[in-house]
């Protein structure tokens, strides 16, 4: 079987998938980073892995999208476009994949249509496969993305978000797939987006089988999470029932909430007679070996609680939101209340709010509401703006049933019917004056922004400007390995730090003394390429260093 290479037209990709005599694997490096390392896996590590990953023969490498675009600029200080550009140079063949939240793009709220189109257009220059979903499975929320991906000649991979419960029938999902096909036409890959790793192997097998019966030519891509430790079971069932592509991750970095290990998937299915034909097992093993030693430096971002969570079937939190939820519980000092929140309140809220899909941004609404219900005393007494918008139908209609009246009343007030009548319905966001935004950005950064800078600014205005300023001050820091960039504690006096800058020039920094004067100002002496340099820090900087609140990395 021939490998599907980057640059192949969507129709040809679909044809090759239809004719393939084995199954394919997507390496979901981004989802692994997001689910098990709070999205902090650095470009440096991905670059170490790039050569072996390129040889491994994946259908695609999911390396951008989800919360990563935001975390790239906010915490990793890397330009998400430059990241793709650099990786592309090292990985000329492998298709790059993104995860796009439809109208919510890579953020948490709906964007204007012209911003969506502009953003997709810019990213589509680097991204070959577009996995797009809407947490309400409301197809119109994805339409603009579908259209722009099509225009760019890239592969559309619309999702049906999957969950469990009496309403989540195959009949319902088949209806959704038809809605998608009515909009996109047949040259797509269909993704079953099992962001929580929900359901049993049997359940997934049945769903895939039913889709296969009705749409025999539609390539199915199964996406799962290993939160309960059983995703290999679901993956196997999916492939046995006709899924063409499945998701997995590099073993040495697999944890608890992200993808299952690639090699385990390959070995299990091989024994069952299914061939991952384009996969080079040696390269898969090599990838894990190359990056294994880097994992220790990401220690601080791994989950506070170790072990699989079969109870995900109850609370249904998506893998991408597990780590950050637990982190919030630790920081908020309510880790002891997690059993109540996760196993009692979450399923209750879920049911009360219509049993929609617990995935960004809907999962944040469920989580925040459950935490508030437990922490705040009165249930729904302290509703977030996002919950309000959900009830108003801003994100789309409830898929199965509406919440009960008392919840509307609690959240929208006693005149909730009037409020609903006046403000309700899918938000019709008017287009943004992008040219004007460009001028504002130019003013803020003091130079004419590139289209890519403008895209980042339109996603996250303040964080993007902060990032541009950071880059001007500190340079291209993606060259620093996690052992430096995520270093815990100060360096040793006399320690030598070597790195290669983005132009390929090697540099050497030797750590000298730090001297604090009577005003509390600290001078850090570094010897940079044999030149003495002094960096001074105001007294308040040391304390103010932990400035930004940690509220991202959700899914």
């Amino acid at each position: 079987m021939e490998r599907i290479v980057q640059g192949t037209s969507p129709a040809e990709v679909i044809r090759q998938l239809q004719n393939s005599d084995g199954y394919h694997i997507t390496n979901t490096a981004r989802d692994l980073s997001q689910s098990d390392f709070k999205n902090r896996i650095l470009l440096h590590t991905d670059l170490l892995a790039a050569d072996a990953r390129e040889r491994a023969g994946y259908f695609s490498l999911e390396i951008t999208g989800g919360a990563s675009v935001h975390v790239d600029i906010l915490r990793k200080q890397v330009d998400p476009f430059l990241k793709l550009d650099i990786l592309r140079k090292k990985m000329p063949t492998t298709m790059f994949q993104t995860l796009c939240r439809g109208v919510n793009l890579f953020g948490y709220r709906p964007y204007p249509q012209n911003v969506i189109r502009f953003t997709v257009k810019e990213f589509a220059k680097y991204v070959d496969v577009w996995r797009t979903f809407d947490f309400m499975n409301y197809i119109p929320n994805m339409q603009a993305v579908f259209e722009e991906v099509g225009k760019a000649g890239k592969v559309n991979e619309p999702c049906i978000c999957f969950s469990t419960g009496p309403e989540h029938t195959d009949k319902y999902y088949l209806g959704k797939i038809q809605e998608i096909l009515d909009v996109t036409g047949s040259d797509i890959i269909l993704c079953i987006k099992n962001h929580g790793g929900l359901g049993t192997p049997k359940r997934i097998g049945e769903l895939v089988d039913n889709i296969r019966q009705k749409y025999p030519d539609l390539p199915i891509h199964y996406h799962g999470h290993n939160t309960d430790g059983n995703d290999i079971g679901r993956i196997v069932a999916a492939v046995q029932n006709g899924a063409t592509i499945v998701d997995a991750g590099d073993a040495s970095f697999t944890g608890f909430y992200g993808p299952a290990p690639i090699l385990s998937v390959v070995q299990t299915l091989k024994d069952l007679g299914y061939n991952a034909a384009t996969i080079d097992e040696e390269a898969v093993i090599e990838t894990s070996e190359v990056i294994r030693d880097e994992r220790q430096h990401y220690h601080a971002f791994e989950s506070q609680i170790k072990g699989f969570q079969p109870t995900v079937q109850i609370h249904k939190l998506p893998g991408g939101a597990m780590g950050s939820s637990l982190e919030q519980a630790v920081k908020g000092g309510f880790l002891d209340k997690m059993p109540d929140i996760l196993h009692k309140e979450m399923p209750r809220v879920q049911k009360e709010l219509g049993n929609y899909w617990s995935v960004t941004p809907g999962s944040q609404i469920l989580w925040t509401t459950a935490v508030a219900n437990i922490q705040g005393g009165e249930r729904y007494g302290n509703a977030s703006g996002d919950l309000r918008n959900l009830l108003l139908g801003k994100y789309g209609p409830f898929p199965f049933y509406e919440p009960e009246d008392w919840i509307f009343e609690k959240v929208l007030g006693s005149d909730w019917k009037k409020v609903l009548e006046e403000e309700g319905g899918v938000e019709d966001i008017s287009d943004m004056d992008i040219d004007k935004e460009k001028e504002i950005l130019a003013d803020r950064i003091g130079e004419e922004p590139t289209d890519q800078q403008l895209v980042l600014y339109l996603q996250h205005p303040n964080d993007a400007v902060e990032f541009f300023k950071f880059e001007a001050k500190f340079g291209k820091v993606y060259v620093l390995p996690p052992s430096i960039f995520l270093h815990e504690g100060g360096f040793e006096a006399g320690e030598t730090i070597s790195f290669t800058d983005h132009t390929g020039k090697e540099h050497r920094v030797e750590v000298g003394p730090s001297i604090k004067d009577e005003d509390g100002e600290t001078s850090v002496y570094l010897n940079v390429d044999h030149h003495q340099r002094v960096y001074t820090f105001e007294p308040e900087l040391a304390e103010g260093a932990v400035a930004k609140p940690d509220t991202i990395s959700k899914e």
């Binding site: 200080q77 001050k473 340079g475 815990e488 504690g489 100060g490």
Partner: protein
């Protein structure tokens, strides 16, 4: 009391002059304007006179300079280059006050500063010249003369301000329509810039080499040359890189040019150091351009290959000494290249980077390396003067050795704070045409790729800044 000489200049050339003055066992009197109060030339001088707040107007103020000389008891003034160096009124004022002007007489400065008179002197001495006009008549008559000239010699032609110089007041004209519209503009501009609205025309020599000859003459009229320099690598008629001797392989031609330069100097009754500039076309025809009556920025390359201290010689000649060497004593050895390291951003059309502080200054050294600079670590570059930080001149036995040395020095030269021309020059010394010695005045236009470099001079210190933050905070505050 030691004899004092006043240095009527600033920056690197002031320091260059002060060094020569002090080596001759005289005392150097510096002058300065307020924006230069941290300048190194003041600290090196034996005394310094504050002229005023400036900027520039006080360095250009003849009365103030003369007064400074009188007040300090200086018997002579060295003007350097720029500012008052070629202002005949200043030379005249020195002569009137009995102060020795280190340079030619006011009459020579005046004659050679007037392009039309200069051309007449050279024409009378049969010096080959680019075809050109006299001063154009005022009004429409001048335009008619211009159109007639263009009809005879064909476009393009240069429209030049008679009192211009140093690349200023020059326009390229390519059509009759342009001629008609540009002449009034050029006149107005010349009037504003030089207080003289006269303009004239010259035929354009396409993609010439710019070759000049250093000459020295004593008061008895003994005139020698110190060989050629090639100053072809220019941007908008401003020299960036200068080389001695010229890389033209026809030595006989170069000898002829040098002899012509001596003849031209004699025709002008030239005294002291000067430079005779020529253009050389593709067929190796050479044309007289002008005589600069000052010490040139690029005099260093000639000093390196001849071993003659031009500034020292200038002072001795002005103090009444005869030339202590004759033409046969002057030997050229090897090659020298000077690069003007400017605080400019070559990528932004050489936008000056004044106002920035030099946070790191690490200069190269070693065999065959000479630096004429004035900035130091911690120095804030004044915004109101030119952007030259340091001239780096290297000398080598062969051309290849010289280029190798230059490359090594550029790689070792670290200036952080302002953007500089260093990364741009690094591209030049790696360019095959430059390495072959193949360049003319169109060099930069024909090599746009030279501007393609990364501004990574500061990249290491930027990244080190983050390392310092991580070290100081005990974690990376930008990754938390």
């Amino acid at each position: 009391m030691k004899t004092k000489i006043l240095v009527a200049n600033r920056g690197e050339i002031a320091i260059r002059l002060i060094r020569a003055i002090q080596e001759l066992n005289y005392e150097a009197v510096a002058v300065y304007e307020s924006p230069d109060k941290e300048s190194r030339h003041i600290r090196i001088a034996d005394e310094a006179v504050w002229l005023g707040n400036g900027p520039r107007c006080d360095y250009l103020n003849i009365d103030k300079i003369i007064n400074a000389a009188k007040k300090s008891g200086a018997v002579a003034i060295h003007p350097g280059y720029g500012f008052l160096a070629e202002n005949p009124d200043f030379v005249k004022a020195c002569e009137d006050e009995g102060i020795i002007f280190i340079g030619p007489s006011s009459e020579v400065v005046s004659n050679l500063g007037n392009k039309v008179i200069a051309r007449q002197i050279m024409a009378d001495a049969d010096i080959p010249m680019v075809p050109g006009t006299e001063n154009l008549s005022p009004g429409d008559d001048g335009v008619k003369e211009a159109l007639a000239f263009a009809a005879t010699y064909k476009y393009p032609v240069m429209l030049k301000a008679t009192s211009g110089g140093g690349g200023r007041g020059i326009r390229l004209i390519e059509s009759d329509d342009q001629m008609k519209s540009e002449i009034p503009v050029a006149r107005a501009e010349a009037k504003a810039a030089f207080n003289d609205e006269s303009v004239y025309l010259e035929k354009v020599v396409i993609e010439p080499k710019h070759v000049e000859v250093q000459i020295m003459a004593d008061k008895e009229g003994t005139t020698v040359h110190l060989g050629t320099r090639d100053c072809s690598i220019q941007r908008r008629n401003q020299k960036l890189i200068e080389i001695a001797p010229s890389m033209i392989s026809d030595k006989k031609l170069l000898d002829t040019i040098c002899e012509t330069a001596v003849k031209a100097a004699k025709a002008a009754n030239y005294f002291n150091a000067g430079t005779v500039e020529f253009l050389i076309d593709k067929d190796f025809n050479y044309y007289f351009m002008e005589i600069n009556t000052r010490v040139q920025v690029e005099h260093t390359v000639t000093e390196m290959i001849t071993g003659i201290d031009i500034v020292r010689t200038q002072i001795k000649l002005a103090m009444g000494k005869k030339l202590s060497f004759c033409q046969d004593d002057i030997k050229m050895r090897g090659h020298a290249i000077e690069m003007r390291i400017n605080a400019e951003d070559p990528k932004a059309d050489f936008m000056p980077e004044g106002g920035k502080t030099v946070s790191v200054y690490r200069s190269p050294g070693g065999y065959g390396v000479r630096l004429d600079g004035f900035v130091y670590q911690g120095f804030t570059i004044p915004e109101v003067y030119d952007s030259l930080l340091v001239k780096m001149t290297v000398h080598g036995f062969s051309w290849n050795e010289t280029v190798d040395r230059l490359r090594r020095c550029l790689q070792n030269f670290v200036i952080a704070g302002p953007k500089t021309t260093i990364p741009f020059y690094l591209n030049i010394v790696k360019d095959p045409d430059f390495v072959k010695g193949d360049f003319d005045t169109s060099y930069l236009d024909k090599h746009p790729e030279l501007f393609d470099y990364e501004d990574n001079a500061n990249e290491a210190s930027k990244l080190a800044n983050l390392i310092a933050e991580i070290h100081h905070c005990g974690h990376n505050p930008y990754a938390a």
